[in-house]
Amino acid sequence: MPNSSSAPHEGPLEGLRVLEIGDLGEVAGKLLADAGADVIRLEPPGGGRSRHVGPFVDDDPGQPSLLHASRNTSKRAVTLDVTQTAGLAIWQRLVGLVDVVIDATTPTFLDNLGGGWQWAEGQSDLRDCVWCSITPFGRTGPRRDWVVNDLVQLALGGPMMSNGYDDHQLPPIRPDGEHSIAVSNEYAVSGLLAALWMRNAGHPGQLVDVSIHEAVSATTEGAFPNWEYFGRLVQRQTGRHSSPAPTAPWQHLAADDEHVCLINGGLPRGGASWTGLLDWMDEYDAAADLRDPQYQELLFRDPRSNPEGRLHVARTIGDFVQRLPADEVYRRGQSLHFAWGTVRRPEENLDDPHWADRDFFWEGACPGVDQPVRYPGAPYRFTRSPVRLRRRPALLGEHNHEVYVGELGLTIAELREHLEAGVV
């Protein structure tokens, strides 16, 4: 029987134990850790990739990495060289402590050592272990071992051909931020939680084989149905949806040199919005001919007719907003029920009081930084089981003693011996 209630600080995954290895699963581990799971990230003694990729504190490569900080909140960190015999033996014992392994190495790395899913599957005491593999192409298939990075994954998976500019002399664009890792790790968390759900219902643990190429390929929206149902390819356009045929601009440069996004060209979805917009435009003598009843007719009576007329309305609205500061376009547009937005740089959100109302940013320590920083929080507010910052990003090997001596049962002398041999 479940308990009657949770303690107010407990996350939804309280009690779950996770071991994370490799460089492509840090986001998945973070999502679990912030939700209350005990996630131990295992790195080689020299540190995982993200510790060696900038930006670094003070732009000094000798200082901690902010990429690492961004992906490793709430976790513990141990070091281990699993390629050494003694390291492999420790790895195998660690696996016995956890519910979930996030294996984001390569499709064969751990299996070749004798400590991968093929090994775990045969261990009767690991029957309950969920093994989540995250690799560029999955664990099977002819391109399984191809070498890629985020740019190449977003090229192969399709998003790039939908992103870019009206001018096709300019290349397809890869949005910055390693989104191939984001979307694949988000899928991975769903997959491993589903496998845990089965396990908790009495099924054995199992392998969840997540393919980054497939996760990216599944994230292209209208490109798929346009091809599958119509044989059409979508074309990239500046600041708006890719489309088989050109559409009216959605993005405009406001008077203060900031951009605004007017979804669907800024066209209204309701009569009240339209009336309010015309009144607003009149304040600037900018309504031009839009009060002509023909536009009300074409916007609301038969929205699919008269594309030229709709284009004229969109262009007139676009001309209007270029005369205003971006924030006025955003706020006043929203007050009239236009879902318009300003194009902000990410850091501009730090001081938006709306996010403070939601406690979205988590204030906490960051290695190498004297003052607390604000981390972007989780996009979900659980009313009974908070997802939150549970501990600052760990230093390399910070929890070696705690995990190896306190939980695995090594003696201090054994740990020292392994340290000296470069095993941990």
């Binding site: 399709g158 969840v208 236009f338």
Partner: protein, 421 residues
Amino acid sequence: MRLKGCAYPVTNMPSNLPLPLDGIRVTDFSWIVAGPQATRILADLGADVVKVENESYLDSMRIGLKQDADNPSLNQSGFHSSLSRNKRSITANLFHPKGREAVERLLAVSDVVIENYSAGAFARMGFPWEHLQEINPSLIYVSVSGFGHVGRDASYGTWGPTAQAVSGATAMSGLPDQPPAGWGFSYLDHSAGYYAAIAVLMALHHRARTGEAQHVDMSQIETGMAVSAVPMLDYQVNGRTYERIGNRSRHPATAPHNTYRCAGDDRWIAIAVDDEAQWASLCDVLGLDALCDDPRFVDMTTRKAHEDELDEAIAAVTCERDPFDLMLELQGRGVPAGVCQRTDDKQERDPQLAERGFYPTAPHAELGEHRYEGLPMQFSGARWRMDRGAPLIGEHNHAVLTELLGYDEEEFASMVSELAI
């Protein structure tokens, strides 16, 4: 089977394995993309997702991208079929007491209810959280809105591109000397859906452990900010404001790292060199041996310092090359390279996706047999399903009301005649 025009046979998942979420029921009030993306994942994983629909709050995806524009139907959108496959549909008239009662009976036997209306709309439809708890104390409620249900701007609306603009995702996409390119689709609708599926599963785990149900308030914009931590930290720690970098790499500072035009109409290849061995192989494959000896390009630091000239020299050669041949040759030499694939490349010419069965086929009563994008994972002891496309509107009224909710045939007939469903 083999589809016309497709080079590879289509393989579907074996059907004798269990579905992970078999036994979980979701009442689905979601529409457009963000909510349906979440319930698509849950339905693929085996949950019984019952989409509650009505022409007064119709999912507009049923109208867009119709296959037959001259044949008015709410069942001919392939886009909708992709997002709502494997789900069931009932129509319920919330303005009729019997229609509302049917929905409340459904909520009473559900584990989860999910909606992605503007903040407050679901409560105004008669389903505030307090009432949901009265109907079913075990019910998990996940709401997905642009700005969330809490906060001074909660009444603001978003579509994917608005959320992307405000979150910072639009600004982080594009060339440094050009306006933001943004995303060419509603990325944050999908991201919000992915996170909402996670939220449902986390809430289910919490309920299983403690017995507690809860409301999970999700914000679409926050899903964009959650993946923008690096520039936010860089700003706070190093005082740096975000500047676009196109397809180049700032961290790590590697070069070449870009897209290069190839032969053909608007064909491009992405190449990303990570070390000196890959650089030597790239020069060899492109026939640019002189570049290896050029003092501007002898190591990563000098290549990064002369990146414009470097990219120009590479593009001058790639523009004569077939992108797929070049990709295969570079990958054969261990150089990270990939064609900027179009959808037809992925669906018809990608042997990896084909062998993994990523585009399974399924029937639909009006659209016929079509391919669908798969779930990007495989289980060793379970399966995800691609049993059928989206339900026809109201297709499961009879099955859900009589088999699940306990209405007898007479009651069902009267509800139909009274337009309650």
